[in-house]
């Protein structure tokens, strides 16, 4: 009969001791929580973040273990929390340095008035953990010093790649302008807007296809050929009989002459009218001159600057074939485009 009673008494005593231990550990946890709060208020989040985290986490672990009835593990975690909390408090003590500045005592005037208490002004000097000259309270990266490279130097964060092009500033030839690696981090310029970047464009100021390295493809003319001395034409310019009106059949030819002049913007030419020897020489001279002028007028209409065009009418005086045959005379009735200069 006595044994069960003794066993029961032992159990009650054990439970009582357990409760007492649990209560003591909870009290310790509360005390440590108060300590971490104090450290947090003193700036531990900035000056001792790891210690503060360790204290907070271990207190939480301990409380959960106490809830689960595991006092021994709770005790271990509280010991860890205590150490971390003390360290956090210690490190956060210097977080805000206080400097006491005493102002000089005012010179007393006779009769000496009742001495005034010396004003004491307490100024707090802002902390700058990373030493970059930007106080922590406005420093977005209080642990990493600002790189002070002239780009966003006010935020306190280093900017290893100012232009965000993926090439670190040290390797970037244009650190403030984004550009691809192929262009050493510099922006791709395309002055002639032909889609070929300047660094690949052999003619950066004249548009041209990529296949021709950005240079314009030389025009192929079917009816004219630009030689050193002349714009050779493969057809004759045709005029109404005895008149100086250019026939529509020759518009295509003259369009190509105009294009050749546009493709060679510095070229100046002389349009020379020639006739065969049929009719009076005087009339032929006038006619050849007027036909040359008609061709000039057509080219001006096509956008060629008149300063680039001269005209001359030679009549029958400069034949290139015999006027005795029809074939020869037809060759002598001609318009020449003589190049005066091309530079």
């Amino acid at each position: 009969m006595r044994r069960p009673v003794l066993a029961l008494a032992g159990l009650v005593a054990l439970a009582g001791a357990g409760c007492a231990t649990g209560g003591r550990l909870r009290a310790q946890a509360d005390s440590l929580s108060a300590e971490t709060d104090k450290a947090r208020k003193a700036g531990a989040l900035r000056c001792a973040p790891r210690e503060l985290a360790a204290a907070d986490a271990n207190i939480d672990f301990a409380l959960r273990e106490l809830d689960a009835g595991d006092a021994s593990r709770a005790q271990e975690h509280l010991a860890l929390a205590e150490s971390a909390a003390h360290k956090a408090v210690e490190l956060s003590q210097d977080c805000v340095q206080r400097v006491v500045v005493r102002q000089p005592t005012p010179v007393p005037l006779p009769p000496p008035p009742v001495p005034k208490p010396r004003p004491v002004i307490i100024k707090s000097t802002p902390v700058d953990t990373d030493g970059d000259g930007i106080p922590d309270d406005i420093d977005r990266c209080p642990l990493d010093p600002e790189d002070k490279d002239g780009f966003q130097d006010e935020d306190g964060c280093p900017d290893p790649d100012n232009d965000g092009d993926g090439i670190v500033d040290a390797m970037d030839a244009c650190p403030n302008n984004p550009g691809p690696l192929e262009n050493r981090g510099c922006p791709v310029l395309d002055r002639d807007h032909d889609g070929v970047p300047d660094w690949l464009d052999k003619c950066p100021d004249v548009p041209g296809p990529r296949e021709n390295d950005g240079c314009p493809v030389p025009k192929k003319y079917s009816l004219v050929e630009v030689t050193k001395k002349k714009i050779e034409i493969r057809q004759q310019v045709r005029f109404a009989t005895g008149k100086f009106t250019v026939l529509k059949a020759s518009y295509g030819l003259l369009d190509q002459v105009a294009q050749a002049l546009k493709d060679n913007p510095k070229m100046r030419i002389r349009i020379e009218g020639n006739t065969d020897n049929v009719g009076s020489e005087k009339m032929n001279l006038i006619l050849s001159r007027k036909r040359a002028d008609a061709v000039k007028g057509y080219l001006i209409k096509k956008g060629i600057d008149l300063k680039r065009l001269e005209t001359a009418g030679y009549g029958p005086t400069q034949p290139i074939a015999s006027n005795k045959t029809e074939l020869g005379r037809s060759r002598n009735r001609r318009t020449d485009f003589v190049i005066l200069s091309n530079e």
Binding site: A53, A54, A57, N58, D137
Partner: protein
């Protein structure tokens, strides 16, 4: 014979708990690694250290077979790691500077 279904159910529940804990641990590890890669160790040391400690605790609980506690700690580790990463990458809302 009657106890066999009960035993099977218990075994199944235990297996589920193990899987849950493992999954939570993996998620937390991934989140912490992400935070580390984002530079949270330096940029968000409080959150990063907390996440690390919770993950360690989760592993310990898992090792002792306390799967429920392991899941709780692992989830807390994941939350903290995500917070650390967001802070490090500048996506977290900045506290107002006065």
């Amino acid at each position: 014979m009657r106890s066999i279904p009960v035993l099977l159910a218990v075994a199944l529940l235990a297996a589920c708990a193990t899987i849950d804990a493992s999954r939570s641990l993996v998620s937390a590890e991934v989140a912490l690694e992400g935070a580390r890669a984002a530079g949270a160790e330096k940029q968000a040391p409080y959150e990063y250290t907390s996440a690390d400690l919770y993950l360690r605790q989760a592993r310990e609980e898992n090792g002792h077979g306390r799967y429920g506690a392991a899941v709780e700690h692992a989830q807390q580790a994941t939350r903290l790691a995500d917070e650390a990463k967001a802070k490090a990458t500048g996506t977290a809302p900045r506290p107002e500077v006065k």
